[in-house]
Amino acid sequence: MIAVLPFAFDYSVVSEHSGELLRGLLLTVEVAACGFALAAVLGLPLALAGRSRTPLLRIPATMWIALARGVPLLIVIFWLYYAAAQEGLFSLTAFIAGMLSLGLTGSGYMAEIYRSALSAVPTGQFESAAAIGLSRAQAFRVVILPQALRTAIPPAMNTFVMLLKGATLLSVIGLADMFYAAKLVAVNEFKPFELYTAAAVLVIAVTLVAAIGSGLVERRLSKGVRR
Amino acid sequence: MSATTTSSLLELQQVTKQFGTTTVLQPTDLQVRRGEVVCVIGPSGSGKSTLLRCVNFIAPPSTGTIVFDGAEYKPPTDHRWVPALGMSEEKRLTRLRSEIGMVFQQFNVFPHLTVRENVALGCRKTCGLSRAQANERALAELTRVGMAEKADAYPERLSGGQKQRVAIARALALDPKLMLFDEATSALDPELVNGILAIMRELAEGGMTMMVVTHEMRFAMEVADRVIFMDRGAIVEEGTPEQFKAPQHERTQTFLRSINHG
């Protein structure tokens, strides 16, 4: 790979602009974290509505999940940022639009995760909770939910990694994230290779840490459940 | 060392098996004559299944020698760095396995193949039969175990007893010299056990050499030529069924008492 390069890698450009790059990286992680929090909060009621016996709840929840999972993130971003503003519905900053699109897309995935985690709790748990006199709501809150959340953690972390990768897209609507900074500097200094490589390495480092972390958590938890 | 008498089909010489640092099989010597039925009994985890799996190298022994039908087999070398080196050894073991039939506790029929294909696949791949010949052979074996009319069904739709019949037919189709039964009836509903035992009894009476790991004491007492009691990875006691009515060892006595009352 190195042999292809006609000139040496110029570290100085990267180190000169490392402040901008790192600030950008922080913003990416921030927006991904906010989006994930939103997804995690929205996902649970969505999952419950999706399991409901009332079509009034079930059908809208189903459609929401289908939309969130069927429409590419980039289109959601464009839609929230450009389309809605043009129609005068609302006008959002890049950060809010980014957070919302990550949160909405993620909510579909989180709902699926909660749903399968809930159905993975053996029905015997509900029965035995009822047998010791807990109401349905109590049983859900004290017995079912804690067990379900435990199984939901590893796939939820995968969703976070997915959203983190998705957050790198937000420079397209001008969020001043790392790629935005990299792009600006790259254009100004004519050093795109150095800057894009630096940006790529930084993002990969963060996503790798998150991915490996989720893998570790998954292994740890599945051990705990089996034994 | 190898004082193999002609009547001995199988001989284990100082065979051991380790998984990591735990020893599952202590150094074991054993001879099985042609036409002999050997029943292996013992508590769970005593190394009975491992013993069977060492015989056909499904779980290759760690040390020792196995002589089968006059040919010697040693533990295969671990070619973990360059697996291609193990090819010829692997081929030899594959041939050995095709001469030994095995029936498992969990049946292990192939779910994505029909009953007929389950039985025919081995014939085609190891005996070199054509597809038509293999199918014919399969049908004959299935008839023998009373499963001919299910030949085109998928195993999913069969009961446990029926699956085990298919598994037996699959093993017999290769015309094996030795049959290994690893708790063939343990996973069956009680009412289905006798059907399988009847097939095994018939096989034994037909002169098949068999090693049977079982918890069915009545079967062992009636059919076996020799009974082996294993505990903690070693053979503790062996003898005729007659001798096992008054076992010598205390551990054997305890075991027999526990299953007679349990």
């Binding site: 999972r69 699926e112 790198t168 290779f193 | 498992f104 193949l113």
Partner: protein, 250 residues
């Protein structure tokens, strides 16, 4: 509300239908080729991980972890702009997109294949060995069919992800559906209409593919009375109530 809808003008979207269709065609081409290549790559990576040779297995593990950590957009920009400026390495947009999509997804598929590989009961291998089947026969006739059946649902998810991710290729100028929508949205100054249309088209395609894939899964599992495979995402749109689907009798 009425003023809002009165203001909407989907006419230009309809007028530009042939352009959008061209975008869909490109998307389909890229998605199918990338998926096929990703399957090949995934098998290779999974094979490496499963290898009895330690160094190869470790190499596979590291490669998979590495690829799983990379965002598609990052890889695309790096390949397309970064490498290009480093000289002598200018990708065409579509090959660059296909390469990036298949590389990243081969890592996901490798993990799926590995999980499927391990999900087949060990007894199946023991039985195949006990029947004297050669390793090759065991692998192709016994193991692979069962792995396929177990992994199909998760593979379908990857395919859907690839379809959705083709939209990201618009960033390097691939004229797929989103790029076309963007172009005409700017031309007509109608982002709402064009982006809404694009979203609905994606939704329709994803739904169709999911449906088709279900049929494929049912065919692959026709020997089973009930589909017992685990689905990561069961409900895309219509699968909600289907806890366990019953396959038609063979």
């Amino acid at each position: 509300m009425t003023t809002l809808f009165a203001a909407l003008d989907f006419g230009p979207v309809w007028e530009m239908r042939s352009e959008l269709l061209k975008g869909i065609g490109n998307m389909a081409l890229i998605a199918v080729v990338s998926f096929a290549l990703a399957i090949v790559g995934g098998l290779l990576l999974a094979g490496m991980r499963q290898s009895r040779s330690r160094p190869i297995a470790w190499g596979g593990f590291l490669l998979i972890q590495f690829l799983r950590g990379i965002a598609l957009y990052v890889l695309l920009l790096w390949m397309f702009f970064g490498l290009a400026s480093a000289g002598g390495f200018q990708f065409q947009p579509i090959p660059a997109g296909i390469l990036a999509l298949s590389l990243l997804n081969s890592a996901y598929l490798a993990e799926i294949f590995r999980a499927g590989y391990e999900a087949v009961p060990t007894g199946q291998k023991e039985a195949a060995m006990a029947c004297g089947l050669p390793r090759r026969t065991w692998f192709f006739r016994i193991h692979l069919p069962q792995v396929t059946q177990i992994t199909l649902p998760a593979m379908g998810n990857v395919f859907v992800d690839i379809i959705k991710d083709t939209s990201i290729l618009s960033a390097i100028g691939v004229t797929e559906l989103l790029r076309e929508s963007q172009r005409w949205a700017q031309f007509y100054q109608l982002p709402f209409e064009f982006y809404t249309a694009a979203a609905l088209i994606y939704l329709a395609i994803v739904t169709l593919v999911t449906f088709g894939w279900r049929r494929l899964e049912r065919r692959a599992g026709r020997h089973l009375q009930t589909q017992a495979t685990v689905r990561r995402s069961r409900s895309l749109l219509f699968g909600i109530g289907a806890r366990s689907e019953t396959a038609p009798a063979p």
